[in-house]
């Protein structure tokens, strides 16, 4: 909270200082002081130039490393054909099966109940997830019996995606939730019924 006050204090100081520097008329023979110097020494300019280059290179390197770490493997959600309602995936549940990977994507096959528990950890970062309806429980995720579900645009069926943590009798559980259905259904249930857990603390939201 100190930042706004610091910014205003510095702004007042710089405004006054720059006004004095801009409008003062120094006598020709006047000696320069440290408050109103007549330019910097050559060594100081070289030092500032080198320091600037080092800082810029450091920032670029840091940003590129953070951007690389922020990406995650995308998820492929397989949802039972005709399912409508909230889907919930709970992570790091001991004894539950781990998520599998296919074609560079992590496959999340949702059972007809709409609730999946997995021992796999939740991954954070930016990635483009995809959603499909599957018609037969025995089909693999690469089968042709998958139908794409849109998560954007006027025909979208995916809404309210949220990640969070819920505290329960088994400790803190990480989960991911989203709604499958038309916009009208989503709005209707949002107005009438609360989400499965009311004590959730969203950690991130991906469109």
């Amino acid at each position: 909270m100190i930042l706004p006050y610091l910014a205003i204090a510095l702004l007042i100081l710089v405004t006054a200082y720059s006004a004095v520097v801009s409008f003062r008329r120094a006598p020709e023979a006047a000696a320069t002081s440290w408050i109103l110097p007549d330019g910097a020494r050559r060594s100081a300019r070289i030092f500032v130039g080198i320091a600037t280059v080092v800082i810029v290179i450091g920032m670029v390197a840091w940003l590129s490393i953070s951007a690389r770490n922020a990406s995650r493997r995308s998820l492929r959600f397989l949802i039972p054909e005709g399912y409508s309602g909230w889907v919930r995936v709970e992570f790091e549940i001991s004894g539950a099966p781990a998520l599998t990977s296919e074609g560079g994507q992590t496959v999340v096959k949702i059972p007809p109940t709409g609730r999946l528990m997995t021992s796999s950890p939740e991954q954070y970062g930016w990635a483009r997830d995809s959603y499909y309806f599957y018609s037969s429980p025995g089909l693999s995720s690469s089968s042709a019996g998958l139908r794409l579900i849109l998560d954007s645009g006027p025909e979208r069926l995916i809404w309210g995606k949220i990640n969070g943590e819920a505290a329960g009798s088994q400790g803190i559980r990480k989960y991911e939730e989203f709604f499958v259905g038309t916009e009208q259904l989503y709005k209707d249930q949002a107005n009438s019924v609360k989400a499965p857990d009311t004590d959730k603390h969203p950690a991130r939201t991906t469109p």
Binding site: L3, P4, L6, A7, I8, L10, L11, L13, V14, T15, Y17, S18, A19, V20, V21, S22, W34, I35, L36, P37, D38, G39, A40, A44, R45, V48, T52
Partner: protein
């Protein structure tokens, strides 16, 4: 070196402050154009910092213009804050 550090620190602090406010605007959906003007002022102040090493009077004029740009945002913001507290 005093003007250099003064302009640089002020440019960084005000720029970071307004950038933080702008990042909040992503969630609210409403971007205040004066915040963008203030951000431009912070950028001009950084340029003034480097210019002050070579031409202090010109840097002073640029810094003054930058400060006026920043006051476009901070002036109304302070006025609103004072009005809310009274």
């Amino acid at each position: 070196m005093l003007p250099f550090f003064l302009y640089l620190i002020t440019g960084v602090v005000t720029g970071f402050h307004v950038y933080a406010l702008l990042s909040f605007s992503v969630y609210t959906g409403a971007i205040n154009p004066l915040e963008l003007v203030s951000l431009l002022g912070s950028f001009c102040l950084l340029i003034a910092a480097y210019l002050s090493l070579f031409r202090p009077p010109a840097a002073g004029r640029l810094a003054l213009i930058a400060c006026l740009l920043m006051w476009c945002f901070y002036g109304p913001a302070i006025a609103n804050l004072v009005r809310a507290r009274l």
